[in-house]
Protein backbone atom coordinates (compact mmCIF):
# COMPACT_ATOMS: atom_id res chain seq x y z
CA UNK A 1 0.00 0.00 0.00
CA UNK A 2 2.91 2.35 0.79
CA UNK A 3 4.02 1.99 -2.84
CA UNK A 4 0.75 3.61 -4.00
CA UNK A 5 1.58 6.54 -1.70
CA UNK A 6 5.05 6.84 -3.25
CA UNK A 7 3.46 6.78 -6.67
CA UNK A 8 1.04 9.53 -5.60
CA UNK A 9 3.89 11.79 -4.49
CA UNK A 10 5.74 11.04 -7.75
CA UNK A 11 2.59 12.06 -9.67
CA UNK A 12 2.39 15.43 -7.87
CA UNK A 13 5.99 16.26 -8.76
CA UNK A 14 5.52 15.05 -12.35
CA UNK A 15 2.69 17.57 -12.66
CA UNK A 16 5.15 20.19 -11.37
CA UNK A 17 7.64 19.05 -14.06
CA UNK A 18 5.07 19.56 -16.82
CA UNK A 19 4.08 22.97 -15.44
CA UNK A 20 7.69 24.17 -15.03
CA UNK A 21 8.85 22.80 -18.39
CA UNK A 22 5.92 24.60 -20.03
CA UNK A 23 7.04 27.87 -18.47
CA UNK A 24 10.76 27.35 -19.15
CA UNK A 25 10.22 28.20 -22.85
CA UNK A 26 12.70 25.77 -24.37
CA UNK A 27 14.81 26.00 -21.18
CA UNK A 28 15.77 29.60 -21.81
CA UNK A 29 14.35 30.79 -18.46
CA UNK A 30 16.71 29.90 -15.63
CA UNK A 31 14.39 29.54 -12.62
CA UNK A 32 11.74 27.55 -14.47
CA UNK A 33 14.50 25.32 -15.81
CA UNK A 34 15.81 24.75 -12.28
CA UNK A 35 12.25 24.06 -11.08
CA UNK A 36 11.87 21.51 -13.89
CA UNK A 37 15.07 19.69 -12.94
CA UNK A 38 14.40 19.73 -9.19
CA UNK A 39 10.81 18.47 -9.52
CA UNK A 40 12.01 15.90 -12.07
CA UNK A 41 14.59 14.60 -9.59
CA UNK A 42 12.03 14.33 -6.77
CA UNK A 43 9.44 12.70 -9.06
CA UNK A 44 12.02 10.22 -10.32
CA UNK A 45 13.14 9.32 -6.81
CA UNK A 46 9.60 8.60 -5.60
CA UNK A 47 8.89 6.67 -8.80
CA UNK A 48 11.94 4.53 -8.08
CA UNK A 49 10.60 3.80 -4.57
CA UNK A 50 7.24 2.78 -6.05
CA UNK A 51 8.93 0.58 -8.67
CA UNK A 52 10.51 -1.51 -5.91
CA UNK A 53 7.02 -2.99 -5.65
CA UNK A 54 5.28 -2.25 -8.97
CA UNK A 55 6.23 -3.87 -12.26
CA UNK A 56 7.90 -1.12 -14.28
CA UNK A 57 5.28 -1.10 -17.07
CA UNK A 58 2.41 -0.87 -14.61
CA UNK A 59 3.97 1.67 -12.22
CA UNK A 60 5.33 3.86 -14.98
CA UNK A 61 2.05 3.92 -16.92
CA UNK A 62 -0.05 4.75 -13.87
CA UNK A 63 2.42 7.50 -12.94
CA UNK A 64 2.53 9.24 -16.31
CA UNK A 65 -1.21 8.82 -16.99
CA UNK A 66 -2.49 10.03 -13.63
CA UNK A 67 -0.13 13.00 -13.95
CA UNK A 68 -1.70 13.65 -17.36
CA UNK A 69 -5.15 13.63 -15.76
CA UNK A 70 -3.93 16.00 -13.03
CA UNK A 71 -2.53 18.42 -15.61
CA UNK A 72 -5.86 18.58 -17.47
CA UNK A 73 -7.87 19.03 -14.26
CA UNK A 74 -5.54 21.76 -12.96
CA UNK A 75 -5.71 23.43 -16.37
CA UNK A 76 -9.50 23.49 -16.10
CA UNK A 77 -9.54 24.74 -12.51
CA UNK A 78 -6.78 27.37 -12.65
CA UNK A 79 -6.29 28.28 -16.31
CA UNK A 80 -9.87 28.18 -17.58
CA UNK A 81 -9.11 25.46 -20.12
CA UNK A 82 -12.31 23.84 -21.36
CA UNK A 83 -13.19 20.35 -20.13
CA UNK A 84 -15.07 18.72 -22.98
CA UNK A 85 -16.65 15.29 -23.27
CA UNK A 86 -13.51 13.86 -24.90
CA UNK A 87 -11.22 14.97 -22.12
CA UNK A 88 -13.68 13.64 -19.54
CA UNK A 89 -13.84 10.26 -21.30
CA UNK A 90 -10.02 10.08 -21.39
CA UNK A 91 -9.92 10.90 -17.67
CA UNK A 92 -12.55 8.22 -17.00
CA UNK A 93 -10.51 5.61 -18.94
CA UNK A 94 -7.34 6.38 -16.96
CA UNK A 95 -9.12 6.29 -13.60
CA UNK A 96 -11.07 3.16 -14.55
CA UNK A 97 -7.86 1.48 -15.68
CA UNK A 98 -6.04 2.35 -12.45
CA UNK A 99 -8.92 0.95 -10.38
CA UNK A 100 -8.94 -2.17 -12.57
CA UNK A 101 -5.20 -2.64 -12.06
CA UNK A 102 -5.58 -2.15 -8.32
CA UNK A 103 -8.34 -4.78 -8.19
CA UNK A 104 -6.38 -7.20 -10.40
CA UNK A 105 -3.61 -7.17 -7.83
CA UNK A 106 -0.91 -5.02 -9.43
CA UNK A 107 0.96 -4.19 -6.20
Amino acid sequence: MISWLYLGVAVLFEIAVAFSAGNAQGFTRLWWTIATLVSGAIATFFLSLALLEFDVGVGYSIWTSVAGVGIVILGAVFFQERLNLRKLSGIAMVIGGVIGLRLSGAA
Binding site: T44, S48, V56, G57, Y60, I62, T64, M93
Partner: protein, 130 residues
Protein backbone atom coordinates in the same frame (compact mmCIF):
# COMPACT_ATOMS: atom_id res chain seq x y z
CA UNK B 1 8.68 26.75 -52.62
CA UNK B 2 11.99 26.63 -50.73
CA UNK B 3 9.97 27.64 -47.70
CA UNK B 4 7.76 24.58 -48.01
CA UNK B 5 10.78 22.33 -48.43
CA UNK B 6 12.51 23.68 -45.34
CA UNK B 7 9.27 23.40 -43.36
CA UNK B 8 9.03 19.77 -44.35
CA UNK B 9 12.66 19.17 -43.37
CA UNK B 10 11.99 20.84 -40.00
CA UNK B 11 8.92 18.71 -39.55
CA UNK B 12 10.85 15.53 -40.32
CA UNK B 13 13.58 16.44 -37.86
CA UNK B 14 10.99 17.27 -35.19
CA UNK B 15 9.33 13.86 -35.60
CA UNK B 16 12.68 12.09 -35.38
CA UNK B 17 13.36 14.06 -32.17
CA UNK B 18 9.94 13.01 -30.86
CA UNK B 19 10.53 9.30 -31.59
CA UNK B 20 13.95 9.60 -29.93
CA UNK B 21 12.32 11.25 -26.90
CA UNK B 22 9.97 8.25 -26.69
CA UNK B 23 12.86 5.78 -26.91
CA UNK B 24 14.85 7.74 -24.29
CA UNK B 25 11.80 7.71 -22.02
CA UNK B 26 11.64 3.89 -22.23
CA UNK B 27 15.32 3.65 -21.21
CA UNK B 28 14.65 6.18 -18.43
CA UNK B 29 11.74 4.11 -17.03
CA UNK B 30 13.74 0.87 -17.19
CA UNK B 31 16.73 2.56 -15.55
CA UNK B 32 14.61 3.96 -12.70
CA UNK B 33 13.29 0.44 -12.09
CA UNK B 34 16.76 -1.10 -12.37
CA UNK B 35 18.26 1.48 -9.98
CA UNK B 36 16.28 -0.12 -7.10
CA UNK B 37 15.54 3.22 -5.46
CA UNK B 38 18.91 4.63 -6.58
CA UNK B 39 21.01 2.06 -4.78
CA UNK B 40 22.53 0.63 -7.98
CA UNK B 41 25.02 3.15 -9.37
CA UNK B 42 25.07 2.23 -13.10
CA UNK B 43 21.28 2.24 -13.50
CA UNK B 44 21.04 5.45 -11.42
CA UNK B 45 23.45 7.29 -13.72
CA UNK B 46 21.59 5.94 -16.74
CA UNK B 47 18.27 7.21 -15.28
CA UNK B 48 19.65 10.74 -14.83
CA UNK B 49 21.28 10.85 -18.27
CA UNK B 50 18.16 9.60 -20.06
CA UNK B 51 15.91 11.94 -18.07
CA UNK B 52 17.93 14.90 -19.41
CA UNK B 53 18.09 13.46 -22.93
CA UNK B 54 14.30 12.99 -22.93
CA UNK B 55 13.67 16.56 -21.76
CA UNK B 56 15.97 17.92 -24.44
CA UNK B 57 14.62 15.81 -27.31
CA UNK B 58 11.04 16.56 -26.28
CA UNK B 59 11.67 20.30 -26.11
CA UNK B 60 13.21 20.22 -29.61
CA UNK B 61 10.28 18.22 -30.99
CA UNK B 62 7.57 20.38 -29.40
CA UNK B 63 8.95 23.55 -30.98
CA UNK B 64 7.48 22.28 -34.25
CA UNK B 65 4.93 19.59 -33.37
CA UNK B 66 1.63 20.50 -31.68
CA UNK B 67 1.97 19.90 -27.92
CA UNK B 68 -1.14 17.71 -27.59
CA UNK B 69 -0.18 15.43 -30.48
CA UNK B 70 3.47 15.34 -29.41
CA UNK B 71 2.70 14.37 -25.81
CA UNK B 72 0.21 11.71 -26.98
CA UNK B 73 2.80 9.99 -29.18
CA UNK B 74 5.58 10.36 -26.61
CA UNK B 75 3.49 9.09 -23.67
CA UNK B 76 2.20 6.18 -25.76
CA UNK B 77 5.70 5.07 -26.78
CA UNK B 78 7.01 5.38 -23.22
CA UNK B 79 4.15 3.46 -21.60
CA UNK B 80 3.88 0.62 -24.14
CA UNK B 81 7.66 0.35 -24.43
CA UNK B 82 8.31 0.19 -20.70
CA UNK B 83 5.61 -2.49 -20.29
CA UNK B 84 6.98 -4.61 -23.16
CA UNK B 85 10.70 -4.23 -22.43
CA UNK B 86 10.14 -4.31 -18.66
CA UNK B 87 8.45 -7.67 -18.89
CA UNK B 88 11.35 -9.01 -21.00
CA UNK B 89 14.25 -7.41 -19.12
CA UNK B 90 13.03 -7.92 -15.55
CA UNK B 91 10.88 -11.00 -16.26
CA UNK B 92 7.80 -9.18 -14.98
CA UNK B 93 5.04 -11.00 -16.78
CA UNK B 94 1.64 -9.33 -16.62
CA UNK B 95 -1.52 -11.33 -16.14
CA UNK B 96 -4.11 -11.05 -18.91
CA UNK B 97 -6.30 -8.88 -16.67
CA UNK B 98 -3.44 -6.53 -15.83
CA UNK B 99 -2.47 -6.23 -19.50
CA UNK B 100 -6.08 -5.32 -20.32
CA UNK B 101 -6.31 -2.55 -17.70
CA UNK B 102 -2.88 -1.29 -18.67
CA UNK B 103 -4.09 -0.99 -22.27
CA UNK B 104 -7.16 0.95 -21.06
CA UNK B 105 -4.94 3.40 -19.14
CA UNK B 106 -2.55 3.93 -22.04
CA UNK B 107 -5.41 4.40 -24.52
CA UNK B 108 -6.99 6.82 -22.03
CA UNK B 109 -3.89 9.00 -21.69
CA UNK B 110 -3.29 9.08 -25.47
CA UNK B 111 -6.95 10.04 -26.00
CA UNK B 112 -6.67 12.70 -23.28
CA UNK B 113 -3.56 14.27 -24.81
CA UNK B 114 -5.14 14.28 -28.27
CA UNK B 115 -8.27 15.91 -26.84
CA UNK B 116 -6.01 18.66 -25.44
CA UNK B 117 -4.51 19.35 -28.86
CA UNK B 118 -5.19 22.90 -30.00
CA UNK B 119 -4.31 21.97 -33.56
CA UNK B 120 -6.79 19.09 -33.78
CA UNK B 121 -9.57 21.21 -32.26
CA UNK B 122 -8.85 24.03 -34.67
CA UNK B 123 -8.79 21.61 -37.62
CA UNK B 124 -12.17 20.27 -36.64
CA UNK B 125 -13.83 23.63 -36.35
CA UNK B 126 -12.39 24.43 -39.77
CA UNK B 127 -10.26 27.33 -38.60
CA UNK B 128 -7.06 26.21 -40.27
CA UNK B 129 -6.43 24.96 -43.76
CA UNK B 130 -3.40 22.81 -42.99
Amino acid sequence: MTNTTSNQANNGRAWIALLLAGAFEIVYALSVAGSEAFTVLSWSISAIVFFLLTLYALSVALKTIDVGIGYAVWAGIGAVGSAVFGSVLFEQSLTLGQAFWLAVIIAGVIWLKLASSEKLQADESGLTAS
